[in-house]
């Protein structure tokens, strides 16, 4: 369960990206977040994922008030979340496989088990034959799929996907949506920020629309 209570986010410099937002998302839901560019979609996901702290208000994930997490406990909280970043945040000087191994190494999963799981995740997103490549040699869509593999490989219960289909053609977009939907059906909570109205129409789930940092 995700709950925002009167959350405001003012970035350094004064821009208010989120203004007094309250919302409730029950466990196991799949929710689309839409809105124009600059509306605050990424900001909302970062607040929920504890990558940004709210200026005021409270954010609860499960029973945890994450706006009060101490620095030392933050990493353990983040392990429960699979984040697909809008700007990918890949390790460009490492192989595709190494990128997917990173979350597993952080979880201190044994080397053989980690490699097995990383390969399975790459298989899922159709990158099995690219595991030795560097991310820079991948196309935009392939990089996107790599991000997805990295986000799901640690089997998080909450997935925050920021424009996961942005650079993908229809076929791949639906494949990715298929993966996310399967995870949702197995009980995971999934939040997807997207511009793609067709996608939302097709999957017909709950939709939150942001405009200038406000829910509408």
């Amino acid at each position: 369960m995700i709950e925002l209570i009167d959350v405001t986010k003012r970035y350094p410099g004064g821009h208010v990206a989120m203004a007094n937002v309250s919302l409730y998302i029950p466990h196991g839901e799949m929710v689309f977040i839409t809105g124009r560019s600059g509306a605050g979609k990424s900001t909302l996901l970062k607040l929920i994922g504890s990558l940004e702290k709210p200026t005021s208000g409270h954010i609860k994930i499960g029973n945890e008030d994450t706006s009060r997490l101490r620095r030392a406990t933050l990493p353990y909280f983040r392990l429960n979340i699979g984040m697909i970043f809008q700007d990918h945040k890949l390790l460009y000087d490492r192989s595709v496989l190494d990128n997917v191994l990173l979350p597993l190494h952080i979880r201190e999963i044994s080397r053989t088990e980690a490699t097995r799981r990383a390969r399975a995740a790459l298989e899922k997103v159709g990158l099995a034959n690219r595991e030795r490549s560097r991310p820079v040699t991948l196309s935009g869509g392939e990089q996107q799929r790599l991000c997805i593999a990295r986000a799901i490989v640690g089997r998080p219960r909450l997935i925050l996907a920021d424009e996961p289909t942005a650079n993908l053609d229809d076929d791949y977009a639906h494949e990715i949506m298929g993966i996310l939907q399967a995870l949702n059906e197995s009980g995971d909570t999934i939040l997807i920020a997207t511009h793609d109205q067709d996608l939302i129409a097709r999957y017909g789930k709950r939709r939150l629309t942001l405009a200038n940092g406000n829910l509408s």
Binding site: A72, P75, R78, L79, L90, L91, H105, I106, R107, R150
Partner: protein
């Protein structure tokens, strides 16, 4: 998490550290060389001192120490002191010369006239001590122990040069420690700086790892291993350098020694000191890494 996977993770960090060392072979070799040379200085000095000490032990073999007792000490007290001293460590032989014997000896040596003009025997009891073969420092210690006894009046000391050498060696030991301390600090600083540069080079990786849940401990670990590994290789280099130096010097020493009919050779580092050097190198690298990581990672917040 089982103990097995935890150990595995440490092994992974060690492998990562090794890979990072090899990624920049020139820079790594240079750091290791600098550490090796710096550690060689106190190591070399230490070797010089131990060898000098060993050499001079042979030279003090036949030193005799004469102990003059105070005039008021009677024969019984003198004899019991002689008995006590015989059981002390560091003394090979002890001869008691009573004041009467000493007088007789003087009379025999032709000072009869002078002595007979005295109303009483002016000579004290004496003890003639032959120390066991010992280093100048040990002889000096014995000398000091004897001087502290209340019965003792004066001592003809162990030979002056031996005492001076002992003092010099003491000074050398002090200098070695001073040098070792100063260089240890600079080594920690070198390691710290190398690691600071590494951390900046891996800034993206560190930040991304943190975003997806890496703890500080996870991020620190490979850098700490890197520091320890670099320290170990540096001290290994120092061991090799000093070993080579001894080998090289021994060629001339051998030539010199044969002209004296001696088979003397310089000794290399013993096992204890070698182990100490290696462990010291690891600890220094680790300390430098720790300080650097703690300080640099704080900058990233």
């Amino acid at each position: 998490m089982t103990l097995g996977t935890h150990a595995q993770h440490h092994l992974d960090s060690l492998i990562t550290a090794w890979q990072r060392l090899r990624e920049q072979p020139l820079a790594s070799a240079f750091s290791i060389l600098v550490i090796g040379i710096a550690l060689s200085l106190p190591t070399g000095l230490y070797l010089l001192i131990t060898n000098l000490d060993r050499t001079s032990s042979g030279l003090t073999e036949h030193t005799e120490i004469t102990v003059f007792l105070k005039p008021k000490i009677d024969t019984a007290t003198a004899l019991s002191l002689a008995e006590t001293l015989r059981n002390e460590p560091g003394i090979r032989k002890l001869r008691f010369v009573s004041r009467e014997d000493a007088l007789l000896e003087l009379q025999r040596s032709g000072l009869d006239d002078v002595l007979s003009s005295l109303s009483s025997n002016p000579l004290p009891h004496t003890l003639v001590i032959e120390p066991i073969q010992a280093s100048p420092a040990q002889i000096r210690q014995l000398d000091q122990r004897l001087r502290q006894r209340p019965e003792v009046d004066a001592i003809t000391s162990a030979e002056a040069w031996a005492r001076r050498l002992a003092a010099l060696l003491d000074f050398g030991v002090g200098l070695t420690w001073l040098l070792a301390t100063v260089l240890a600090l600079s080594l920690a600083a070198i390691t710290g700086n190398t690691i600071r540069l590494q951390i900046y080079a891996r800034r993206d990786e560190i930040e991304i790892s943190r975003l997806i849940g890496a703890t500080d401990r996870f991020i620190r670990r490979p850098f700490l291993y890197f520091g320890a590994l670099q320290g170990l290789l540096g001290s290994l280099a120092a061991l090799i350098f000093s070993g080579l130096a001894i080998l090289w010097l021994n060629q001339s020493v051998a030539e010199l020694a044969t002209t004296y009919g001696s088979s003397f050779r310089l000794a290399t580092l013993d096992l204890h000191i070698s182990a100490l050097l290696l462990v010291g190198g690891i600890l220094l690298g680790l300390t430098g890494a720790w300080l650097s990581v703690a300080h640099t990672l704080r900058d990233f917040d």
